[in-house]
């Protein structure tokens, strides 16, 4: 069941992202230049652009650089965890074991530390703003004082951010609690399913988060140019 759900979910996510990408029409000209040849290579250029986002900007202070580094480590851990977690269960249709499990367990600890740090360091930056939903302000007859225009995908990014952290709690607990002599076989199986599905949704949210973050960064880059 999980295998089918995961395969369907991942494919659906990629399809939705591609559709959104096609519909939203990112401003490639502003980022990559109008006079570029071989526009067919734009998706490849987009991926290269994504790679550039992993670099720490020179203007950032130590705290900013630390935040970024933690994010990158967390991202790396997430990729490794996703590969070691989903490849055995989704591709090979078998329980995670052997080196997969070994690496998964090691990276899980690092990932948890990074995510805890990110929660502390980035939570405030990801507070929802009153201006995101103008229609709601209209209904409530409120006049927000702030006049700052939110970035284009800011709301989506913040929803993903909080979604990821909400899912982090059951992801960690389902893994760690199973190591204590609390739950029997049925409970262990339930915990495993909770862990699987929560990590699945967490991974989906992380993909969407990264996609919108990249789009946002493109918008900003385009705006600067």
């Amino acid at each position: 069941m999980f295998r089918e759900t995961a395969i369907t979910g991942f494919i659906a996510t990629i399809v939705v992202i591609l559709l959104h990408f096609a519909v939203s029409k990112p401003k490639f000209d502003n980022v990559f230049g109008k006079d570029r040849g071989l526009r067919l290579l734009d998706p490849l250029r987009f991926l290269v652009f994504l790679m550039t986002l992993i670099f720490v900007e020179q203007k950032w202070n130590f705290a900013g650089a630390l935040r970024k580094l933690i994010l990158l480590v967390a991202l790396f851990c997430l990729i490794v965890l996703a590969v070691t977690g989903f490849v055995p269960s989704v591709i090979y249709d078998e329980a995670i074991g052997s080196w997969w499990l070994f690496i998964h367990a090691i990276m899980a600890g690092i990932f948890a530390v990074c995510m805890a740090a990110l929660a502390v360091l980035w939570a405030d930056r990801n507070r929802f703003d009153k201006n995101y939903l103008p229609w709601l302000n209209t209904i409530l007859r409120r006049q927000p004082k702030s006049t700052v225009t939110p970035e284009r995908y800011e709301l989506e990014i913040k929803i993903c951010f909080w979604g990821i952290f909400v899912l982090m709690v059951p992801v960690i607990l389902s893994a760690i609690v199973s190591m204590f002599k609390i739950f029997g076989t049925h409970g262990q199986e339930v915990l495993l399913q909770i862990h699987r599905y929560c990590t699945f949704f967490l991974t989906i949210l992380a993909i969407i988060y990264l996609y919108f973050a990249a789009l946002n960064e493109m918008e900003k880059t385009a705006g600067r140019s």
Binding site: A95, A108, M115, A119, V169, G184
Partner: protein
């Protein structure tokens, strides 16, 4: 014309139907005791004892006044009410039937001969790693001579005349066949005599096959032997001979056992006592040289009030369940699918009704055990056999060491050397505890084919080299050197067929002579140890592996993975230190070690990740409260 054809077809069909009806009619109707009426009471067996009949005649009843007193025949006596031929299809008797699936690999008959440095697994079943007894020259009678002591009769015991040896065919007239001894299992009398000086086993060893069942009963005493009897001997007639060595078997019945009509009451039950099973299925572990049974506990199920046959069940076909997972593929016993550990302790996921808890079996919770363990391990891995320690336990079994029989060696070093628990991958792919020994035998090698040599030929060749000085009084291996092996192989060289060469297999290696006549050895799969999974004795749940912590198995020095299996052979000088169990589990050693090592940090992982979880949950709670505060302010109109 078409009508004519139709008539022909109808006529053929009618003939077929009539023929089938005729065949159906030929099937013997069930006897009185073949089909139970359903009463749970034990039927009284007050019956006439019947002797082995003359060919084509009805069996005669045995009276106390008979001279000579005849041994009773179980085939005639029990077979009067129970179809004997159906019973012979049961698991304990059908090893020689090649149509019967061999099932899970089991304990073989181990031919151990210190005089030729031979320990070889034999079986009539197709268990990988075993050889047929005839491959080493054991005729049915020869096989019974070694192992019939702990066989319940039937099977090969009733095929003694199926041999190329004309002397043995003639001798069957004297010894009789070894019929199934129904009493060996079903007699609940404390007088059942299996192993004492005049009991069943000794009668079989003496070749008194016809008398074995009688001797086992509490109502008779048998003395004498068929060994030196002439071909003219007739067990029905008084024996007169001038040969002082010829002392035929004599039956002395307890006259008081004969009651009304000279019938005899046997205490027969289908609820067999564990002592009956123990005669052939006992184990004794050798701890510090001690072999006393008072120092070891029995299987936990026995203390719970069960008997062996509560789990190992059969109907009249006697196709007893062995109790391993997946047995239903091999057995037509309807209970085979429910007679494993899971059958009583767990609910069958495919069943519509709850099945767990039979015999008041506790349903295990297995708290803290990740389900992956149940995919990788058998139940017995954690629950059966002795608790794994750095050193394996040397053990003796009834079948391998003739336990319970008068005169059996009580030495702890007597061959074969069995050790356990060896945690190895079983046929079903799960890791299970096994008993193990290292085969050692002489064979011919033709290409990649290994054929064990006839044991008589081996004795002839080895006898010239392995002198009495090398023998051990305890029945242990003879003290051999590599030169001895080379000399025996040289002596055998002329006896093997052209293109083949003699080899010796021991300690996981294959020894042979090179062209220069020098002894060479190579590790070879054919020399691998013989292992069979064990199920008993089951320990209490409080003594199961993992009950203390994961470290019971997942530690860098855990016997479960890294216990050394000693390599056993007569070649003391080349005996290796041992083989780590991971090798038998098909697991990469480095990974297993690394994984075990990671458990040192497992408590840290728990603490750190739980702390991280608490931080994340705290942040979520903090901002959720802030959001709530904000929403509340809006609704009360105090938004600033």
């Amino acid at each position: 014309m078409a009508l004519n054809n139709g008539l022909k077809i109808n006529a053929i069909l009618l003939a077929v139907v009539l023929a089938m009806a005729n065949v159906a009619g030929a099937v013997e109707p069930p006897l009185l005791g073949d089909v139970p009426d359903g009463s749970r009471a034990t039927p009284l067996h007050l019956i006439p004892m019947l002797a082995e009949p003359l060919p084509g005649k009805e069996p005669d009843q045995i009276y106390p006044k008979n001279d000579p007193a005849l041994p009773f025949s179980t085939k005639a006596t029990c077979g009067a009410c129970h179809s004997y031929d159906i019973v012979t299809t049961g698991w304990h008797f059908n090893a020689v039937d090649s149509n019967v699936p061999a099932g899970r690999i089991g304990q073989p008959w181990i031919f151990a001969d210190p005089l030729t440095a031979t320990v070889i697994p034999l079986s009539y079943r197709d268990w990988p790693g075993t050889f047929r007894p005839q491959q080493i020259g054991l005729t049915p009678m020869g096989f019974l001579g070694h192992f019939g002591r702990q066989m319940p009769g039937g099977g090969i015991g009733e095929m003694l005349d199926k041999t190329d040896n004309p002397d043995e065919v003639l001798r069957v007239g004297i010894t009789g066949q070894l019929e199934i001894d129904c009493l060996a299992c079903h007699n609940t009398s404390p007088g059942q005599n299996m192993g004492s000086a005049a009991g069943y086993a000794i009668q079989v060893i003496k070749g008194n096959y016809r008398w074995a069942a009688t001797a086992s009963s509490e109502i008779a005493y048998v003395s004498g032997t068929t060994k030196n009897l002439p071909e003219s001997y007739d067990f029905r007639e008084p024996f007169v001979s001038s040969d002082s060595k010829a002392k035929p078997p004599i039956v002395e019945y307890d006259k008081s056992a004969f009651g009304h009509n000279d019938w005899v009451q046997f205490d027969i039950s289908v609820h067999m006592l564990k002592q009956r099973c123990y005669f052939c299925h006992s184990n004794v572990d050798i701890h510090d040289g001690r072999t006393e049974k008072w120092s070891a506990d029995e299987d936990i199920h026995l203390y719970a009030g069960l008997t062996c046959v509560d789990c190992h069940r059969n109907g009249f076909k006697h196709n007893i369940t062995r109790g391993y997972p997946g047995e239903s593929k091999d057995s037509n016993n309807v209970l085979a699918a429910h007679s494993s550990c899971e059958g009583c302790h767990l609910n069958n996921k495919d069943s519509n009704t709850p099945a767990a808890g039979r015999f008041a079996a506790p349903v295990p919770a297995h708290p803290g055990i990740p389900p992956i363990h149940f995919e990788k391990l058998s139940c017995t891995a954690c629950h059966s056999g002795p608790w794994p320690k750095a050193e394996l336990v040397r053990t003796k079994t009834a079948q391998a060491h003739a336990l319970g029989i008068a005169g059996a060696s009580k030495e702890t070093d007597v061959l074969p050397h069995l050790v356990y628990p060896v945690f190895a991958k079983a046929q079903d792919g799960k890791i299970a505890p096994h008993k193990l020994f290292w085969p050692a035998y002489w064979a011919t090698m033709d290409g990649n084919n290994i054929t064990p040599l006839n044991i008589d030929a081996v004795k002839a060749a080895a006898g010239k080299v392995i002198t009495k000085a090398a023998y051990s009084k305890t029945g242990d291996w003879p003290n051999l050197k590599e030169e001895d092996i080379a000399n025996v192989l040289s002596a055998m060289a002329s006896d093997v067929e052209a293109g083949a060469k003699p080899v010796y297999i021991a300690a996981g290696k294959l020894y042979s002579l090179d062209e220069a006549g020098k002894l060479i050895s190579v590790e070879d799969k054919i020399a691998a140890p013989y292992m069979w999974p064990i199920a008993h004795d089951v320990r209490p749940a409080a003594q199961s592996l993992g009950v203390r912590s994961c470290g019971d198995c997942h530690s860098t020095n855990s016997p479960f993975f890294f216990g050394l299996v000693p390599v056993d052979s007569p070649l003391k000088q080349v005996t290796a230190a041992g083989v780590e169990m991971v090798k038998f589990q098909d697991l990469p050693r480095f990974y297993t070690k690394a994984f075990a090592w990671s458990f040192i940090f497992r408590p840290w992982l728990k603490v750190i990740t739980l702390a991280c979880c608490a931080v994340i949950a705290g942040v979520l709670l903090l901002y959720a409260l802030k959001a709530l505060y904000f929403v509340a302010k809006i609704f009360v109109g105090r938004e600033s």
